[in-house]
């Protein structure tokens, strides 16, 4: 099911977390380098912890965690 248009839009620097799908699978963590696509059909160019870059099309249960703002940042 496509994500809803009112879902918060991710931004470059946000984190993507993909939980393991089977017992024993490791959680994967990546950083969004670029947000692609229209609102409601966003996908992301992501650099994963192993250094690979892919274009990631999340499902509705993907976890996007906003980048932590530095103190004093606006």
């Amino acid at each position: 099911m496509p994500r809803t248009k009112d879902a918060p839009r991710a931004r470059a620097g946000d984190l993507v977390i993909v939980e393991g799908h089977k017992v024993g699978d490791a959680r994967r963590l990546g950083t969004i380098l670029e947000v692609l696509g229209e609102p409601g059909h966003e996908h992301y160019r992501v650099r994963w912890e192993d250094g690979r870059e892919t274009v990631f099309y999340p499902s509705s249960d993907a976890t996007i965690r906003p980048a932590t703002k530095a103190k004093g940042a606006r």
Partner: protein, 155 residues
């Protein structure tokens, strides 16, 4: 790049997936090497012509498909079961580059998924071209197609 017929299907079904570009390769084992993945974690899809049409046989990159097992599974008896020819692929799978047909997209063929791959959380296979792969959950593949988990490799 990935073929739109595949990504459109995945988008329409809300499937989570990744497109992974890699150097142009013609063989699944080379694809695995280009991706830096072990060959048993990358799938190759072989289109098999059977009496009623086609089935897509999905096996680990390092394995060989056993057509005798496919014949038994489809109940073809003495009828011919063989890998689709280049002419077959060009005519019936024009959306994909020759030799890069993914398990789903285009025609709605039955899919025979080797049991070893079904045990993996994710599947990686060519995204309809020889220079980009797609990673998605094995469970999602089962949802997208008429998938039978079977033993279809030699040995």
């Amino acid at each position: 790049m990935a073929t739109p017929v595949l990504t459109t299907l995945l988008d329409a079904e809300g499937v989570e997936y990744e497109l992974i570009p890699h150097a142009h390769t013609e063989r699944a084992s080379d694809e695995a090497a280009a991706l830096g993945l072990p060959p048993d974690s990358v799938a190759k899809t072989l289109v098999v012509a059977v009496p009623d049409g086609y089935v897509r046989a999905v096996v680990p990159a390092a394995e060989r498909l056993d057509l005798h097992k496919v014949r038994e599974l489809v109940g073809a008896g003495s009828k011919r079961v063989h890998l689709a020819s280049e002419d077959d692929l060009g005519r019936d799978y024009p959306e994909f580059e020759l030799g890069a047909v993914p398990p789903v997209g285009g025609r709605r063929d039955p899919v025979f998924l080797d049991g070893r791959l079904s045990e993996l959380g994710d599947l990686v296979f060519e995204a309809g071209s020889h220079d980009e792969s797609v990673r998605l959950r094995a469970d999602d593949l089962r949802r997208l197609a008429d998938v039978k988990v079977v033993d279809i490799c030699e040995g």
